[in-house]
């Protein structure tokens, strides 16, 4: 068991930290209300929250999966031009659906109805990283996303079993083509290397045996449903991680879950995502033991982490480099504005290296310092200025029409508050950095902006404070 934070140590800074890490941040009012709950109730609220808004796009109601493939593979090529046009239409529709899907998920993160569940869904998306570039179906990606969300705070074993049956995953890691006598190793390798055990905790022979066990995991011809293809399955005996038997995929997953290394690997991944990189071996041992003893139940495990002293230690507070999604959603929450419009949202996240449903590879996003390069940092700083906007009416009009609601500086920084530099610095530091720590910088920015602090000056102060190393951290 991890050493807990004492209830009387629970501060406003801690509340901001927890909301930022376990969710996507909060406004000053939300953080104050969250703090008033006390640590225990605050964690319980995060774990229990359920909110299904906004609902998924309408087209998810009917399985139109893998439409493009279907057209290419199943239609007779009677009229090549008509077929080409149909494929082009289907591809355009897929692209549009993908953008809608991304926007829908980002809105869920922004709305804050179930912040931890959405954050965990994002974690699992990076963990079981599957990309639409190969799956080629927005519908299958949506469905995987819902499976990740449903199991996000449930049981890790159930999650792995669900992923081994997930249509997008089956396509992504080539299970569809795997069969007795000619198993495809892609899924069996990654399930151990990336999803459960970590590299070095299995042999090449285990990869080969595992590949045989997962033969038969397929999707129906239209790609919507899992099907176990008996004729493709290898029913022979296999030796896997030291055990021998006529194992199928689920049996292999059970053997993996019996390895304490699996709990250690998953506890470590969750720790690094929520708390900090390279946890102390003693802390990780304790966390892994909790997860293993708890039968891989995720909610109690996360509760223990969020109540722990380590989670609020100097190694954790203000040291995490925000991912582009955390940065963008968090910025909209901080500025109490809506998300920018679809094309801009999609373009910016793509250029910052985090296109949802399109991770760069099966290991997902590298995270940490890899988010920051000269190229991405310039875009982050410039975008902050863009989002805060200028006071120029023409620019405001263009901005409002194309991208988002203008940031209401009158509300975020009411003129009476601006007239009191100390109180203004304190309020800005809390809103943007969630902490008193950066008050000197905030005070300096206010002093340098000049007086009186009119609308353009107030906006420039916001831009300045968001174009900083601190603002990239949470």
């Amino acid at each position: 068991m991890l050493a807990p934070l004492a209830p009387d140590e629970w501060s406003l800074d801690h509340a901001a930290h927890l909301l930022g890490r376990a969710g996507f941040g909060g406004t000053p009012e939300q953080i104050r209300a969250f703090h008033a709950l006390g640590l225990d109730a605050a964690v319980n609220q995060l774990l229990a929250a359920r909110d299904n808004r906004p609902p998924a796009p309408d087209w998810t109601k009917e399985p139109g999966a893998l439409k493009r493939q279907t057209m290419m593979e199943m239609r007779p090529a009677a009229d090549p031009d008509a077929k080409k046009a149909a494929i082009r239409d289907a591809m355009r529709e897929e692209r549009e659906r993908l953008v809608e899907l991304r926007t829908w998920w980002l809105r869920r993160m922004r709305s804050g109805g179930q912040p931890l569940r959405e954050k965990m869904t994002l974690f699992w998306h990076g963990h079981f990283a599957t990309s639409v570039t190969k799956v080629k179906s927005a519908w299958a990606m949506w469905r995987q996303n819902e499976t990740l969300r449903e199991n996000a705070l449930g049981n890790f074993g159930a999650m792995v079993r669900a992923m081994a049956r997930d249509p997008a995953m089956i396509r992504w890691l080539d299970l569809q083509q795997s069969k007795v006598g000619a198993p495809n190793e892609n899924f069996a390798r990654e399930v151990m290397e990336l999803f459960t055990l970590g590299v070095g905790h299995y042999t090449e022979a285990d990869v080969k045996a595992g590949a045989r066990a997962f033969t038969g995991h397929r999707v129906t011809p239209l790609g919507q449903e899992f099907v176990f293809a008996r004729r493709a399955h290898d029913y022979g005996p296999k030796t896997f991680l030291g055990k021998t038997g006529n194992f199928d995929g689920d049996a292999v997953i059970d053997i993996i879950l019996e390895q304490p290394q699996c709990a250690r690997f998953i506890a470590g991944r969750i720790w690094e995502f929520f708390a900090y990189e390279n946890p102390e071996p003693g802390q990780l041992d304790a966390a892994a033991y909790s997860l293993f003893r708890g039968g891989y139940e995720l909610a109690p495990f996360l509760g223990e982490l969020f109540r722990s002293r380590a989670f609020y230690s100097p190694r954790a507070m203000g040291t995490h480099i925000k991912s582009p999604v955390e940065w963008l959603v968090g910025m909209c929450i901080d500025l109490e504005t809506s998300l920018p419009g679809q094309p801009l949202l999609d373009g910016v996240l793509g250029q910052l290296g985090q296109s949802l449903f399109q991770p760069p590879n099966v290991r997902g996003w590298e995270g940490g310092r890899a988010w920051i390069s000269s190229s991405t940092l310039i875009l982050r700083y410039n975008f902050a200025g863009f989002l805060v906007g200028s006071a120029d009416p023409a620019a405001r009009k263009l901005f409002a029409r194309r991208f988002a609601a203008p940031v209401d500086v009158e509300k975020l920084a009411p003129p009476p508050l601006r007239a009191q530099p100390d109180a203004f610095a304190e309020a800005l530091a809390f809103r943007l950095y969630g902490s008193e720590r950066s008050r000197p910088r905030t005070a300096a920015a206010i002093a340098e902006a000049g007086r009186p602090i009119n609308d353009p000056r107030a906006r420039s102060i916001f831009q300045r404070l968001m174009s900083t190393p601190e603002y990239q951290l949470s």
Binding site: K134, P183, G347, Q358, N361
Partner: protein
Amino acid sequence: MSDSTLHTRRHFLRTSILGGAVAWTLPGFIDRTFAALNAGAEGSLVQTATGRDGPILVILQLSGGNDGLNTVIPYADDAYHRARPRIGVPAKSVLRLSDQVGLNPRMPKLAALYGEGKATVLQGIGYPNPNRSHFRSMEIWQTASDSNRVERHGWLGRYFDNCCRGEDPAVGVSLGEQMPEAFSASQPMGIALKNPGRFRFAEGSEVMEDAAADSTDAGGSVGALAGNTTSDLDAFHYIERVALDAQVSSDRIADIVRRHPITGNYPRTRLGQDFQLVSQLIAGGMPTRIYYVSFGGFDTHANQTGTHDQLLGQLDDALAAFAADMRAQGNFDRVLLLTFSEFGRRVAENGSGGTDHGTAAPMFLLGGGIRPGLGGVAPSLADLDAGDLKYTVDFRSVYATLLERWLHVPSAGVLGRKFPVLGFV
């Protein structure tokens, strides 16, 4: 350090930090960071000059594990055709480089460059105890480590740390939004550059209408594979340093892109466009020694042939365009391009018309200064290790050769020990 680089830095000092223009956009900068940089710059006056005359190394990473045996094909070996009844390339269509091996028919332009002695192949490149994980093997290649050891920084990062302290941060340029793990250094060096038109800190709120969506590499479960980023700086100071490096480079890049029109005739693929930008930066006299380009989609576990042929075709087109452009610019003799992938693929095809993760593979070399003829030693198809090729040349010998013979620096300090130097340059 060249005069022009020093000029840039002094210019930067004068107009940006002291003038206060940057202080508004980049309020995080404190004297300490700049003082450290400046001290480094002073100390590096003894460095050899780069800019318009120094050697340039272009690394092209093929992500996902390129199938070496269908790229450089041992067409005369029956064992090849037996192992690949479905996906093997018939001997008659291979573009012959020797009486044993030839190129995939999708690479006619590289075959022609080989004929002129301007491109070649290093065969059988790998390392002992190969790892078949994409990520671990890529890390081994990017950090030049032994397979049972984890190195904290990249091999090019160690080159920057050892040989380029205090130089212009653009001594290394990575095309794309992320830095490759190979650039990871104790002090961050190098810049990541994707769209030169947007590579500058904006004043106030400029409209970002052109922030169009980017289509990343398609194909396979490994599109892009940049790896981890490490540094001895904590997160805050790391970000501060990256911002400073971006600021140092951005005026110059904007200037180059404005003044040096696009030359050459590049394909409209992402790879072609990346090489076009490399060419523009070379023409503009950037002080860059290392350019790093990535090309993904090589993880061909299933239905390999169409995908792989297309990738090789794109590679052939882009490399040929780059070679022709470098020749036209008069820069071909000082540019050396090297390709690598994290591993080759298994000798025998699998049941899905694809190939699973393997070991040793060939590398391509391109440039005016290379020694013609095949390099390395082709691995035997009769003497396999659990279905995989045994490597014949350690990839760190290739790195050592590049460091010693091309960049003219001692290799042992960068690679940790001496590796035999090869004769390809």
